[in-house]
Structures are given as C-alpha cells and as structure tokens.
C-alpha cells in the first residue's frame, strides 16, 4: 500500500497547498464590504469544465493508485508467477502515443483557428485511439487463445482487470472524441470547439501517461528490475 499512500499524501498535499493560498488566516468577521479585486471569476483561472475535468482525473488516478497498491501487495506473495505479456502491447502503446500527439496537434491548431487542421487531427487521433482499443482487445484474444484465461492465475486476473478498467476509460475517451469531432465538423467557428478540443487532448494525454505507468508495472513483474523496485517501494 506504500504507492497508494504516497499518492494520497501527494493529492492531500496539493489540496492543502491550494487551501493555504486561499487566505485561510482571514478574519471574516472584521472584513466587511465587497473587495474591489473580486469580480466573481471563480477560485481558479480556468473555465469550470476544465476544473471539473481535472477533478475527474484526480478521481480516476485515485482508482488506479489503489489498483496499483493492490497489485504490488499481491505481487509480494510467494506464489506470484508473472504473465508473459504479448509483444503487441508495444505496438498499442505506440498507437496511444500517436493518438496523444495527434490530439495535441488538434489543440495547437484550435489555438491557431485552423478548422481544417483541427478536423484532420481529431480524425487521426480517433483512428489511433480506435487502433489502441482494437489492439488491446486483440492482445486479450492472443492471451485467451494461449490458454491464459482471467482466472488461470493471479497475474492474469490483474492483467485483465487493469487493462479492462483502463480500456473502459479509453472507450469513454473515444465517445467524447466522437462527439467533439462531430461538433467540429458541423461548426465553422473554431472558438466553439476550442475548449472541448483542449479538454479532449488533456484526457488522452492522461490516458497515455496512465497506460505507460500501468504497462511498466505489468512488465516490471517479469524481470529483476521489478523485484528491485518492489523492494524499494513495497
């Protein structure tokens, strides 16, 4: 559970750090009147939707941090036997990386107000994202064909659970990407979709980072490096 605790200490520290910026030492009973600087723009200088997205990502991170904690705890047992991961996963990782790059491109294009480039890059991002999802399913198929079913051994169970939960979030990302692409095709004013494109890119970057961490973790079980890491953090 060390990893989980580190995550929670980090997130609670961020929250407390933010709170400390908020003038918690104020004595509200002495301070009457509207403050001239306060123009009702919210606590954070972002649109509410972005704050909502970041809060959501914190919740999802908490989910995966707990899952990683559980995984490392189970790995420490004597009977742990790791799973030989399909090589296809490298290719999938590449696809997810490409999706992330394409969406970053879309974000840049949206800032430059080039609607055609936004559309093309959203499309590319969608295709790479779909390729990742399909690749993950194909990896599941390869494993099941080789007799590595979900209940065959603990490493398998965790592999399917972790990739499955990550996959569900990818699926959600694809749905959102589809909706935004649809909006981009119907709208001729870039500013209408700019916020959506930026948020979509943020979400897919998050999916990529989360996948890289999870993939490293799943691979880490296979070699000595993993054992050393476990000793260090477990």
């Amino acid at each position: 559970m060390t990893v989980t605790m580190v995550f929670f200490v980090a997130i609670v520290s961020i929250a407390l750090w933010w709170l400390l910026q908020q003038n918690l030492m104020a004595k509200p009973w002495l301070q009457e009147g509207a403050s001239a600087g306060d123009r009702g723009a919210g606590t954070l200088p972002f649109p509410a939707a972005k704050v909502g997205l970041w809060a959501f990502l914190a919740v999802v991170s908490s989910l995966f941090a707990l899952l990683i904690g559980a995984y490392l705890m189970r790995m420490g047992f004597a009977d742990w036997r790791s799973l030989q991961l399909p090589r296809l996963l490298w290719l999938n990782t590449g696809a997810l990386f490409a999706a992330s790059v394409a969406l970053q491109g879309a974000q840049v294009a949206a800032r430059r107000r080039e609607i055609d480039a936004v559309r093309a890059r959203l499309l590319a991002g969608g295709i790479f994202g779909l390729a990742f999802a399909a690749g993950q399913l194909w990896a599941w198929r390869e494993l099941t064909a080789a007799g590595d079913l979900v209940a065959t051994n603990p490493a398998n169970s965790f592999f399917y659970l972790i990739t499955g939960l990550h996959g569900l979030h990818v699926f959600g990302g694809l749905v959102a990407l589809g909706a935004i692409a649809d909006k981009a095709w119907r709208s001729f004013v870039v500013d209408d979709v700019r916020l959506s494109v930026e948020m979509c890119a943020t979400y897919w970057h998050f999916l990529l980072v989360m996948w890289v961490i999870l993939y490293a973790l799943l691979m880490g079980g296979a070699d000595d490096l993993g054992a050393i890491c476990r000793q260090l953090i477990g």
């Binding site: 009973w29 123009r39 509410a48 939707a49 909502g52």
Partner: protein, 585 residues
C-alpha cells in the same frame, strides 16, 4: 467599527457574464428529468428517505428477534443476517451519504453560494437517475432466489461469496453491482459539488465567508471522491471472484469436502480496500453534519459561531486525518504491533480537532439568546449524542481495549450513537430548518416537538443500555443468545426493553412523515426568512426559490455568514448580501 467607505458603487462589474440557464420545456423536464439542483435535491432526499424507511423496518425485525427470540418464526438465522446486512448498507451508503451530499448538498450549495445552479446541471441530473438505478438494483435483491446477501455490511470475503452465506446466489452480485452503480452516480454529483464551490460562488463570497454547512459538504465530497474508488475497486474485484472465478480475495477453500478452484487470494487485501473507503465514509457523513449543526446553532442562538476559522481548519484537518486511520477497524484481523500503535495514535489525534468543534458549539451557546425551537432541539440533541458516541470511540481506538470489545454489542452502541443517531438528528434538524424555504410552508411546531422528544429519549433508551450489554460480553451479530452461562437473565429483560423502545421510536417517525405531508398542504405560509437568518438561501426573491434562484441579478456578498446580534445594527441579524451603508442608516 464598520468600514462604510465601500458603497454599492464601489463594486466592479462582474468579469464573468451571468450563466445561460437551461430552461425546461415541459412538465417532465421540469419535475422529472429536471436539471434544477433544487428538484434534484428533493428527488435525492425522497428516494433516500424511502429506502431509509425500509432499513428502519429491517432494524425492527432484528430487534424483534433479539428482544423476543423465537416468537417470530420467519426471522430465522439466514434472514437475520440478511436484515443486518441490508440495514447497515442502506443506512450508511444509500441513506446518509445520499441524503447529506445529494440532498442537502444539491439544495444548499448553489443557494448558499449565490449561484444560479450547479455548474454541470445535466451531469447532476444523471447523477440522481444513476443513484435511483443503484437503489432499485439493491431493492431487487429482496426478490431474487436466495434473497439479499447476508454477508454483513462489510461484505468480508471469503464468506461473502461462499455457499454458507445467505444470498450467495444473486444477492451478493446485486449488492456489488448496486454499489458500483452508486459510486458512478455519486462521482457525477460529487464533481458538481466540488467544482460549484470552487468556481460558482457569487461575487464577494470568499472561501472564508462561506457558511460552515458548505465547508462541511465540500470537504466531505472531496473525501468521498477520493475514498469511493477504493470501494469501487474492491467491488469490481469481488464481483470477478464471484462470477469469473478469479482469486483476488479468495484463499484456497475446502467447502463441504470439496476443494474449490480458488487459491492464493488475500482476504486482508479486501479489508484494506474496504476500510480505506470505510473510515473516510464516517467523516463523509459526519462533516456535513458538523457544518449544518454549526449553522443551526448559530442561527437559533442568535450569535456568531464561536471560532469560525478554527471550525474551518478543524473540518479540513479531520478530512486529511481521516485517510490515515482506516486500519483501526482491523485490529482484530491481526497486524504488526507497530501498525496498531500508529493507527491507534492517528485515531486518537482526530479527537483533537473534533473536540475543538464541540467546544466551539458549546461556547456559541454560552450566554446566547437560545430559541428552543425544533431545529435547535435537534442540534443540541446532536451535540449530546455525538459527544457520547465520541467518548466510547476513545475507548475503542485503543488496540488493547478494542480487541476484547470489538465482537460485542459495545461496538454496535458506539457506532450507532456516533454515526447513526447523531447524523440523523442533524438531518431531522436540517429538514425542520429548511422545510419552510423548500416548500413555502412552516412545519407544525407542536408535532415537531413531540417527534423530537420521542426520537431523542427513545434513541437513548435504545442505545444507552446496549453499551452495558456489550460490557457484559453480549456478542454482536448473533441471531440468538441461547443459554450461555455468562449471560445473566437481566440481559434478556433489557433486550426486550430495547426492542420496545425501538418500535416506539420507529412509530414516532410517522408523526414526522405526517407533519411533512400535512404541512405541505395545510401548513402556515412561510415568510421568506422565518428564522431571521443571514445566509443567502434565505434572501431569495421568491420562496420557494424559483428557477435560477435569484431573479434578475445575482447577489453580491459583503460579509461573513454569522453577523447575528451585531451591536449598533438595526436588526439582530445582517444578511450576507446587505451592503454596509444600509445597516447604519
């Protein structure tokens, strides 16, 4: 004393344009699939109270069996365990969490902060409907073959999914599914509450001017958003264990002479995940209660809350600490003694900010102009009950005391006092307090007082004796005590007494329900600010507040929420949106 140089003219124009509200086009969009936080709040509250009454009836059935064992033949051991499980889970998750955050949170956050609505109204609507599905899935488990699960509300594996436990066929699957759905729905609502507090406040509403109710609900929501994923992960993993035969939590088990296919899983892992959610859950329920009770006391004692800053810091400190105490629920599961020492220490440290809050409530009441109306009675009832439950918590937080007591009724009495009766007191007080704003009618005061006294004295009649049963060693979770030598006959008499008290308290809630419904149609019309309160929800142009809450212009906030009995002011309260110049005129 008061700086009057800031007139209304000095206020800069709003930087953010007023929000475009979603406007309903039909009756269904206005009252059923509504995106208005006030309607959603009522939907949440009614659903939570309805399922809560089911849990109340379940507690009667348990008490009937304990008080008069063998009299009711349909309450056999499996049914008894099913009643325990469903009672616990419904009360903790589907009633308290949903009512405090989904009910009070939805109603009060936008109104108290001077917003028109939540920031994501559509997601907010989805949140309620997903919650309703979770409740329906849970309710469905009463009607499936084998009935609901009887695994205990903690659902500990391996017994939760083995054939000896009632409801292992479908009950446990529906329970896990329902929790997963609940968490998804809650996350939708929770993101709304947090982001609304961060980004949706009216001009002038700095964080340190927010009413403590909002602080409590806000902090509790942050806790819930971070802690519910632990339950989510645990439920998904156990669901896979049950349906696909994985061994996340299941060790090798021999059942009825048969070696099951499970091997190598860790039940302790489940306990860690469960309590990593489970302990913050206590504060998810307690922090909104702390906040609401602070506002009730301040308003009805006509006095500013004592130590506002300290109250805010204490809420935040309790929230942060609640993540590092979870293993005190696992002392009897066996652990490294240093771990036990660590968790006992953190547990006892939580008593410090909690005690600060209690002192501040008492000091707020000290020499105040206390109006003993129904909300105030419930608020005082909360303080008493909470202190009582908190003190037994100090006993149980110590490993050496907990180990012998943890299997007894003492624990039952402790957590019902601190987490059952105390928050319910606040919920009831809150309903009496805000009902005039929600419905536009006053509740009947006499019926309210009858309701309060029966509930308060009755709750003590139920739970106070149970402490003594626990100290005598009467075990919890037992369907029938039988003829154990260490149990004196007086235990049985006391059990019968407790059962009768429970029935009376349960029936007294009918008075409350009757009052709610009767007053809705026949109650005295409520003025817009019957309690002469300072917070923004009482300053709306209409009562009940209309769609968009504030009419044409959003309110501007000039002061904190507790300007009661300010010397030199015309009235004994100054609303938060009252410009400074007006008071002195």
């Amino acid at each position: 004393m008061v700086d009057v140089t800031h007139g209304a003219e000095a206020i800069p124009a709003a930087e953010v344009p007023d929000v475009d509200l979603y406007h309903p086009h039909s009756w269904v969009e206005k009252y059923v699939f509504s995106q208005d936080a006030k309607i959603i709040a009522i939907q949440y509250s009614v659903t939570a109270l309805a399922i809560g009454f089911v849990a109340l009836v379940l507690s009667w059935l348990m008490r009937l069996q304990l008080g008069f064992p063998g009299t009711f033949s349909f309450i056999d051991a499996p049914h008894y365990y099913q009643f325990i499980t469903m009672h616990g889970m419904i009360m903790v998750v589907y009633l308290l969490t949903a009512l405090f955050l989904g009910g009070f949170g939805n109603y009060l956050i936008p109104l108290m902060l001077g917003a028109r609505d939540m920031v994501f109204p559509f997601v907010n609507m989805l949140s309620y409907w997903v919650y309703l599905i979770a409740v329906l899935v849970l309710t469905a488990s009463f009607f499936v073959p084998g009935g609901p699960t009887g695994a205990g509300w903690t659902l500990y594996p391996p017994q939760a999914i083995l054939t000896g436990t009632p409801g292992h066929e479908w009950g446990i699957i529906l329970m896990l599914l329902s929790l997963i759905i609940f968490i998804i729905g809650f996350t939708m609502g929770g993101l709304n509450y947090v982001v609304t507090v961060l980004q949706g406040r009216a001009r002038g509403m700095t964080l340190m001017r927010m009413p403590l109710t909002v602080w409590g609900i806000f902090t509790a929501t942050v806790l819930a958003l971070l802690a519910f994923p632990a339950l989510f992960v645990a439920c998904v993993m156990m669901l896979l264990d049950r349906t696909l035969g994985t061994s996340f939590f299941m060790p090798a088990v021999v059942e009825m002479g048969q070696q099951l296919q499970y091997r190598g899983g860790s039940p302790i892992l489940f306990q860690h995940l469960f309590w990593f959610f489970g302990h913050p859950e206590v504060y998810i329920v307690a922090l909104p209660a702390f906040g609401i009770v602070s506002d009730l006391i301040s308003t009805h004692a006509r006095r500013h809350i004592f130590g506002y800053r300290m109250m805010v810091w204490a809420i935040v400190a309790i929230g942060a600490l609640s993540f590092v105490v979870w293993a005190h629920h696992m002392y009897v599961s066996g652990m490294n003694p240093y771990f036990g020492f660590f968790f006992a220490t953190t547990t006892l440290i939580i008593a410090v900010p909690t005690a600060i809050k209690v002192y501040n409530w008492v000091l707020t009441l000290w020499r105040a102009d206390i109006h003993l109306n129904v909300p105030m009675l419930f608020a005082i009832g909360f303080i008493v009950t909470f202190v009582n439950g908190g003190l037994t918590g100090l006993f149980l937080g110590n490993v050496v005391v907990d180990v012998p007591l943890s299997g007894t009724m003492f624990v039952v009495a402790h957590f019902h006092m601190v987490m059952g009766v105390a928050p319910i007191m606040v919920i009831l007080g809150g309903i009496y307090h805000w009902y005039p704003k929600i419905s536009g009618r006053m509740l009947n005061e006499a019926l309210g007082k009858i309701h309060f006294w029966i509930t308060f004295i009755g709750a003590y009649a139920i739970f106070f004796p149970i402490h003594y049963l626990g100290l005598l060693g009467v075990p919890r979770r037992y369907h029938e005590l039988g003829d154990a030598a260490f149990i004196p006959p007086s235990v049985h008499t006391l059990n019968a007494f407790v059962t009768i008290a429970a029935l009376v308290v349960g029936f007294a809630q009918i008075v409350f329900l009757y009052n709610l419904i009767w007053s809705l149609f026949k109650g005295e019309r409520a003025p817009s600010n019957p309690w002469r309160a300072t917070t923004l929800e009482w300053q709306t142009p209409e009562t009940p507040p209309g769609h968009g809450n504030w009419g044409k212009d959003l309110p501007v906030v000039y002061r904190w929420a507790y300007d009661y009995s300010v010397p030199g002011a015309k009235e004994d309260f100054i609303p938060q949106n009252q410009p400074p110049a007006v008071i002195q005129a």
